[in-house]
Assembly symmetry: C2
Homo-oligomer: 412 residues x 2
């Protein structure tokens, strides 16, 4: 492993395209992130993304790719993605999402879910437009919106009741945003970075508001298959009135660890799929041709395989919570999906970057600082616990030691 | 082959990102292109791109991909691309381009050359900025520039002397553009669609003007290895004063038929590479992880292999010219590279779309109508002759019959 990856610790620098600057602190954030990466070593454990060695892709993936590569005729596809692959996906997607998915009208394949996010937002958002975004949420949603010149309104997560750690979007704040002119709402579900899965009543509430205020919703369900025992997952697009106003982003890069193939799937109303396809044709033309054919095996006949993966991740979640629970001042709100934990370390009263730098240099672990996920993320950090159990057990010990020392003695 | 590809017959529709409209005829062009595709059948011969069955990728490509996929640790890389792969590429690129290429400062890997084109232009171009573009040239360069809000000045190709069919950019018009405020010049070399390879004196002229007027130049050398016998190819970036102001786009998707892997390579000064990397992180994060490792075998020890491929393409060029030469009214200007011919059929006095539709429906061959390549492309069409010899021989017969009938009897 020669590469020092920074899956989600990337540049947020000043971007000049279309004459739009990134957020004001972009330049310094980029420099800080790069400085942090520069201080890591080849042995540093990188928790900013899934470990695809510990959680490898299913065997059928490489086989399907190889078959497509041997058939050179599959190199080029329409921009929207292979007719053949979309045809294979329509049935499984219809069953999985609980809504009728037409292979030609509603599906677009993209080079990773990120390209789905970018192309849909670029196809929908006009400069100066108001967009609501859950806070905290996937860091690149806000970066892309800023790049496109949108005005972002943050809709914070709040505890569902005073007695629970369950996190849900604040629907009163969401309605305020819609009343103030927002015409697009963006959120990840399960939430990245917290792992929150929202109950049906919250999704019904979002749907009701979206219909009443005629708002389009983009829901990033990249982690939609990584939902833990006893939790049901409701697809927003399946709710009344939502099919024609919802874009659902899906992909096999996390649950199935197909990260190295760069594959995303957009399910959307035709008008939005067409606008996004226009942007895709400019930014990348199409998803990787041979890799597209890997999707023909996706979402099919793998109930046991996914259940096993979830069991393993639940074990790692328990291990992670056990370690952090040793520090009474760390706030823990373990949620029902993803492979992320988002500990609250505001008691340290230190800048996020100082904490991530201390953990990188003294515990030899790269974590994602909380500010990257939005204003509410400040004072937290994100770890992805999809790791080798023994390596992670030792790394958690080192992180807890560093946090304990920071709490007793400060950053020194 | 279930897919009806439209590699370069794609949408040019109204794109709303950043509030910018595509060119005024975008909507109708998109509809016309789609209507043309809808009239093709599964048997239609598609000449809008290379036939990767007739010209397959070298064997080492699939092997390197499979090895990377087995090593799941290679799934994620920095946005710029794998440190390992960039390290392997620096030497071959330094020798090939004739300039010192630093793996960290100067190289970025992209999901296809298109993403290199988009990310560099988005990183460089401000809204309202003036950009010069050769005419005709790769159709997406203008579409991307328009999407970004740039003002495009066309620099037409002209015959180098009255006695030759050799095409070169008009340097007087280029200097006019630079004097009028252009700060970026974009062109493909060898030229797509004409196949023109420019002699050293022309490239020296471009370099001298760029240095004198302090202009940045983006040269798309995707076909830089497909240069025919007796022609030398000069890399613009290797000329005096150009290293610090030239972006070179390269990729293995044509010469090596690695189209299905979606791989592009940007070689650029560090400041431009960084700006483009910012955009890449938003639009796609990174090039496909496993596919990146295919590049470790690229540009190395394949002199005989490339020479053989060029011999085959020269044979196909001769076959193509032989057929079209039967029609004295078709203008032919066969050039020294690529696998494209760009016949002049202005004598028909018909709209490009009527010609492409007649050839699609009556000869069962999909060609690229000339208007797609810029104002000077009108009255031409482009064919890619990288095809099976016998299939192409018969298809050329059908095209010539349709053209002959159109010339005698009109579109009827």
């Amino acid at each position: 492993m020669n590469d020092r990856t920074h899956a989600e610790l990337g540049p947020s620098g000043r971007i000049q395209a279309a004459g739009i600057d990134n957020r004001a602190d972009g330049g310094s954030a980029r420099l800080a992130d790069k400085a942090l990466l520069a201080r890591t070593s080849p042995t540093t454990l990188d928790t900013t993304h899934f470990d695809t060695v510990r959680f490898p892709a299913p065997d059928w993936a490489a086989e399907r790719f190889a078959a497509a590569a041997r058939d050179g005729a599959l190199a080029y596809t329409t921009y929207q993605g292979s007719d053949d692959v979309r045809g294979c996906l329509a049935g499984p997607l219809t069953r999985w999402l609980g809504l009728d998915v037409d292979p030609d009208d509603n599906i677009m394949l993209t080079p990773g879910t990120q390209a789905g996010l970018f192309t849909v937002l670029a196809g929908l958002v006009d400069q100066g437009e108001q967009v609501a975004l859950v806070d905290p949420d996937y860091l690149f949603s806000e970066r892309i919106l800023t790049f496109l010149g949108a005005q972002v309104t943050h809709v914070p997560l709040r505890r569902r009741t005073e007695e629970t750690s369950e996190l849900v979007p604040d629907l009163d704040r969401l309605e305020d945003a819609f009343r103030a002119g927002v015409r697009l709402f963006v959120f990840s579900h399960p939430n990245n970075p917290t792992g929150a899965v929202y109950p049906r009543e919250v999704l019904d509430g979002i749907a009701e508001l979206a219909v009443r205020h005629d708002v389009t919703v983009l829901v990033d369900e990249l982690y939609g298959r990584l939902v833990y025992d006893g939790t049901s997952f409701v697809h927003l697009a399946s709710l009344a009135g939502m099919r024609e106003r919802t874009v659902t982003l899906l992909g096999p890069s996390k649950t199935e660890s197909l990260s190295g193939y760069r594959l995303g799937v957009v399910v959307a109303p035709r008008r939005i799929r067409e606008a996004a396809e226009d942007v895709l044709s400019l930014t990348a033309l199409r998803a990787p041709g041979y890799a597209q054919h890997v999707l023909k095996g996706w979402l099919v006949d793998d109930v046991d395989w996914v259940a096993d993966r979830i069991q393993q991740l639940q074990g790692l979640r328990a291990l992670t919570i056990k370690h952090f629970s040793q520090l009474s001042w760390v706030g823990l709100a373990p949620q029902q999906g993803t492979a992320y934990l988002f500990p609250d370390v505001t008691a340290l009263d230190l800048p996020d970057r100082a904490i991530s730098e201390a953990i990188a240099t003294r515990a030899d672990v790269l974590i994602s600082p909380g500010y990257q996920f939005g204003p509410s993320g400040t004072g937290h950090f994100r770890v992805c616990y999809a790791r080798d159990e023994q390596v992670w057990d030792r790394a958690l010990g080192r992180i807890v030691d560093v946090l304990d020392d920071l709490h007793r003695n400060g950053a020194a």
